[in-house]
């Protein structure tokens, strides 16, 4: 279940991917492979290239050089609709332009698939329940709070039922309970065989749910491995330039990162 490359299981491969904006390298020759049945957390400081990496991997952005292969085919060769049956994306911006109902927005996740009213209704119901927005299904999406809108977009991704799932900071607008719930559902998708890639800022959420953590720093991979391998004091302090303590979670047995304050050290 760790990040070791396995050509049979690898559903997504980035090879020498570089992205430059105004001559500055946002991603610098990144090689990464992602396997089915895994949840990978992409972490790193602001501007490390996490969202850019996700945009390249999901086909939103063509890299300046390098290749991205999804399920054996170059990303550029996919048709929009078949690609949407293969990968789903939760972006950071999920504003909806007109007053569709929550259920209508979630049901749009079914559009890439051939219509099947009964199965579609069942899948949409399940997605609404999983994202804990079943009670909001008749609401106008433009009247939702930030967290509710974010869970609606997450439910739309769930309704798309794809083998590859990209989530860009899915917990940004969420309260503690829903942060945990969203990652538990993402974990469940991976356990059912999906390849899930999540951009996260909260290292403890990453440690608690991911089986692999990739640390990006300045457009390069600074560390890649299991939470225990990656979340060491040395790595975190080097990448984030912030003193931390790495403890052990008392019940989960995973690394627990807390801020250290050298001034308080006696």
């Amino acid at each position: 279940m760790s990040g070791t490359p396995d050509p049979v299981q690898d559903v997504l491969a980035l090879e020498g991917v570089s992205v430059r904006i105004d001559g500055r390298a946002i991603l610098d020759a990144v090689d990464l492979r992602f396997a089915r049945g895994t949840l990978t957390a992409l972490v790193g400081p602001n501007g490390a290239g996490k969202s850019t990496l996700l945009a390249v991997a999901s086909g939103d952005l063509a890299p300046a050089s390098g290749r991205v292969r999804l399920s054996g085919a170059e990303l550029g060769d996919w048709k929009a609709r078949t690609l949407a049956r293969e990968r789903s994306v939760l972006p950071q911006d999920h504003a909806v332009r007109f007053g569709f109902s929550v259920r209508e927005v979630v049901a749009m996740g079914r559009l890439p698939h051939p219509p099947d009213p009964q199965a579609d209704a069942r899948i949409v119901d399940a997605a609404l329940a999983d994202a804990d927005i079943a009670h909001l299904e008749g609401r106008d999406v433009q009247t939702l709070s930030g967290g509710e809108a974010s869970r609606t977009a997450f439910a739309r991704v769930l309704a798309q039922t794809t083998p590859v799932v990209f989530l860009d900071e899915p917990t940004a607008a969420l309260d503690l309970q829903h942060q945990e719930a969203v990652l538990r559902i993402a974990r469940g998708l991976a356990d059912d065989g999906a390849c899930v890639v999540v951009v996260l800022h909260d290292l403890n959420l990453a440690a608690g749910h991911a089986d692999r953590i990739v640390v990006l720093h300045g457009g390069r991979i600074a560390a890649d491995g299991s939470p225990r391998e990656v979340l060491t004091q040395a790595t975190i302090e080097r990448v984030y330039a912030q003193p931390v303590l790495v403890l052990e979670h008392p019940t989960r047995g995973v690394p627990l990162i807390v801020i250290d304050d050298p001034r308080a050290a006696g």
Binding site: S58, G59, D60, K79, A80, R81, T82, L83, A84, R85, S88, V89, P91, D93, H94, A95, V96, R97, F98, G99, F100, S101, E104, V105, M108, G109, L111, P112, G138, R139, D140, T143, L144, A153, R156, Q160
Partner: protein, 355 residues
């Protein structure tokens, strides 16, 4: 204003309640037919509804002329019937184009007149008239209007793309600039035009159905039919675009292709309306807005309902335009602007927080 208070209520509860689209469509269509038949009898020469129905039945070969006067038959059949049908085509085209452009730009203020598409189409038409282009015979002016509309839509799109962080303000400012540029070019053509052309140029800029006849109605019909069917076929892509271009791509929309088709279809609808009625503004703003309040934003019903409601609005406005101050006519464009401009202002002010 039940629509507005309904919206306020909805904002409070946030709950989406909608009557079935099919029922609304049938209801509005029935209303449109009644209004059309009534409009045949209204004007400087009043004709009772019974006689109107009699004339139509007679012309369709269902009844004898009987006691009908030749004058009544001629006024109804040669003037008012084609004019009302052309009014429906023009209103439906502009309202549907408004719904389509709003979907394309992800902005409910994107009316063909406000963002400058109408002016582009008018420029195409005026240019063809003044330069005396006849390459395509009777189709020259409609085709020129379509090309002008397509060029301006593309330009506006390139300058105010919805996903480049450009908001409502950019779209409206770009629209103002393009409308001004087109107006200047139209002014130049007016300046170099000879007296014969001048008369029809005034017509382009004021908007009017006074020149409607069976020929113009039948000439406008094909572009309208193709545009209406094509835009309705783009209903699902339009729904997807409501999530933003990037997310639309994520759920399987070929955004580049959808964008090109929307530009072409909206230009076709605006171009054919402008070619036969000149610049009639605000229909594309007002009608889809009220249809959304009534039936929701789903384009599967928004487009056909906007078509029927737009037709209804222009039939009523044109009937008023030609009968309020006989024997002269109030230009239709002045009418629609007088009604639409305050509404536009209200919409802008209401959206201030989000623009």
């Amino acid at each position: 204003m039940t629509g507005a208070s309904g919206a306020a209520m909805r904002r409070r509860t946030g709950l989406v309640r909608r009557p079935p689209g099919g029922l609304l469509f049938v209801g509005l269509l029935a209303l449109l037919i009644v209004v059309i038949v009534l409009s045949f009898g209204i004007g400087p020469l009043r004709i009772p509804p019974g006689d109107v129905v009699h004339v139509i039945a007679h012309k369709l070969g269902l009844a004898d002329a009987g006691t009908l006067s030749r004058r009544d038959i001629s006024v109804v059949w040669n003037l008012r019937v084609p004019r009302a049908l052309l009014a429906v085509i023009v209103g439906a085209s502009l309202a549907m184009a408004g719904a389509g452009l709003q979907g394309l730009f992800g902005n409910p203020l994107a009316d063909p007149g406000i963002v400058g598409v109408t002016h582009g189409a008018a420029l195409g038409a005026v240019g063809a008239i003044v330069l005396g282009a006849t390459a395509l015979g009777a189709w020259t002016i409609p085709v020129a209007a379509f090309l002008g509309g397509a060029a301006t839509t593309t330009l506006i799109y390139l300058l105010a793309r919805p996903d480049r962080g450009t908001g409502t303000a950019t779209l409206l400012l770009v629209g103002i600039a393009i409308a001004a540029a087109c107006s200047a070019a139209i002014g130049f053509f007016t300046y170099i035009a000879d007296a014969d052309d001048l008369q029809s140029l005034v017509f382009w800029q004021m908007g009017s159905l006074a020149m409607a006849n069976w020929n113009s109605m039948l000439a406008a019909l094909p572009a309208f039919a193709v545009g209406a069917v094509a835009l309705r076929a783009l209903a699902t892509p339009l729904d997807m675009l409501a999530l933003g271009e990037r997310q639309a791509q994520h759920i399987g929309l070929d955004v580049k292709r959808a964008r090109l088709m929307l530009i072409a279809v909206c230009a076709l609808l605006v171009g054919s309306a402008v070619a036969f009625a000149g610049v009639v503004g605000f229909v594309g703003l007002v009608v889809p807005h009220f249809v959304r309040l009534l039936a929701g934003p789903g384009h599967r019903w928004l487009i056909p309902l906007s078509a029927v409601a737009g037709g209804l609005l222009i039939v009523i406005a044109d009937t008023a335009a030609r009968s309020l101050d006989p024997p002269s006519e109030i230009p239709l464009g002045l009418f629609s602007a007088a009604l639409g401009a305050p509404f536009f202002l209200w919409l802008v002010l209401r959206r201030r927080g989000t623009a």
